[in-house]
């Protein structure tokens, strides 16, 4: 985009919008708020550097996620996106407990079942097996960045401490 219609970034930065402007495809002039919020949180030059380091086909997704993160940080200046991660992690923990209860119940039923009763179509539940999705998928290296133990405890719980 160039010529008469500068993109939202160049409008905000008050500069000429070049034909090869890196922001133009992702920050159209009809949505000034989108760039404003990303600029506020990350800074235009940082965003430009980040986009330049990515192949073109990944830049749109990168911009979307940066906008999401910037919005989250403006809404919650302390926790930002990490607040959402913490909330979802708690949800996963609660659901894991519910699943464990359901698995225990079906195990009891299977152990008590009459041999005459038909065997279940589904595979038997192995009490020692947890589906891989229940294992904590977050690598342990995420734990080591925090200098405050509050964050580690509140966001990852004690199980994740390596």
């Amino acid at each position: 985009m160039g010529g008469n219609s500068p993109c939202a970034s160049c409008k905000l930065l008050r500069r000429r919008c070049a034909k090869d402007c890196i922001f133009a495809p992702y920050f159209p002039s009809d949505d000034p708020h989108k760039f404003a919020i990303v600029h506020k949180v990350f800074g235009a030059s940082n965003v430009s550097k980040m986009l330049q380091e990515l192949p073109v086909h990944q830049r749109a997704d990168a911009v979307s996620s940066l906008v999401y993160e910037a919005n989250a940080r403006v809404r919650d200046p302390v926790y930002g996106c990490v607040g959402a991660i913490s909330f979802l992690q708690n949800q996963v923990s609660q659901l894991q407990m519910q699943l464990a209860v359901a698995q225990a119940e079906i195990l009891c039923i299977q152990m008590q079942q009459d041999p005459i009763m038909p065997t279940p179509q589904t595979e038997e539940v192995d009490p020692d097996h947890k589906p891989s999705l229940l294992q904590n998928n977050l690598p342990h290296q995420y734990l080591n960045f925090a200098s405050s133990s509050n964050v580690r405890e509140s966001f990852f719980g004690h199980d994740m401490v390596s």
Partner: protein
């Protein structure tokens, strides 16, 4: 503050570290990597501005969260922390589906058990041992 006790931020920015340095409490010199992530993604002046806008008692948590977001973005330059959010959302859907499946199996078992118990009850009621044929 002498050169040897500069915080990670001031060391990285090659400047003096004043006594009231905003970043010093949250970017100690023994963890330079933490500041380098934050500097790369947010920029030193942005992070200083964001911390200054917060009451002092909340700055520690905020710095930790920003460090985490920066690290996640360095690790995954396309999706950053949104990638983790997406993973958790997918995990939630999978676990919920698993729970629904198992609850369904429990319901089937209970129904079969009830049916079997009813059958046994009827069989014992109509067995030839009952002295109804007078």
């Amino acid at each position: 503050m002498s050169n040897s006790s500069r915080c990670a931020a001031c060391k990285s920015l090659r400047r003096k570290c004043p006594q009231d340095c905003v970043l010093a409490p949250y970017f100690p010199s023994n963890n330079p990597q933490r500041f380098s992530w934050v500097h790369k993604i947010f920029g030193a002046s942005n992070i200083t501005k964001m911390l200054q806008q917060l009451p002092v008692e909340l700055r520690g948590e905020a710095a930790d969260c920003m460090a985490m977001e920066a690290y996640l973005r360095v690790e995954n330059p396309v999706y950053g922390s949104v990638g983790i959010i997406y993973q958790y959302q997918q995990q939630i859907i999978e676990v919920q589906n698993e729970i629904i499946k198992i609850n369904g199996e429990i319901a089937v078992y209970n129904a079969l058990l009830q049916h079997q118990q009813l059958q046994q009850h009827q069989d014992s009621f109509f067995s030839t041992d009952n002295d109804f044929n007078l």
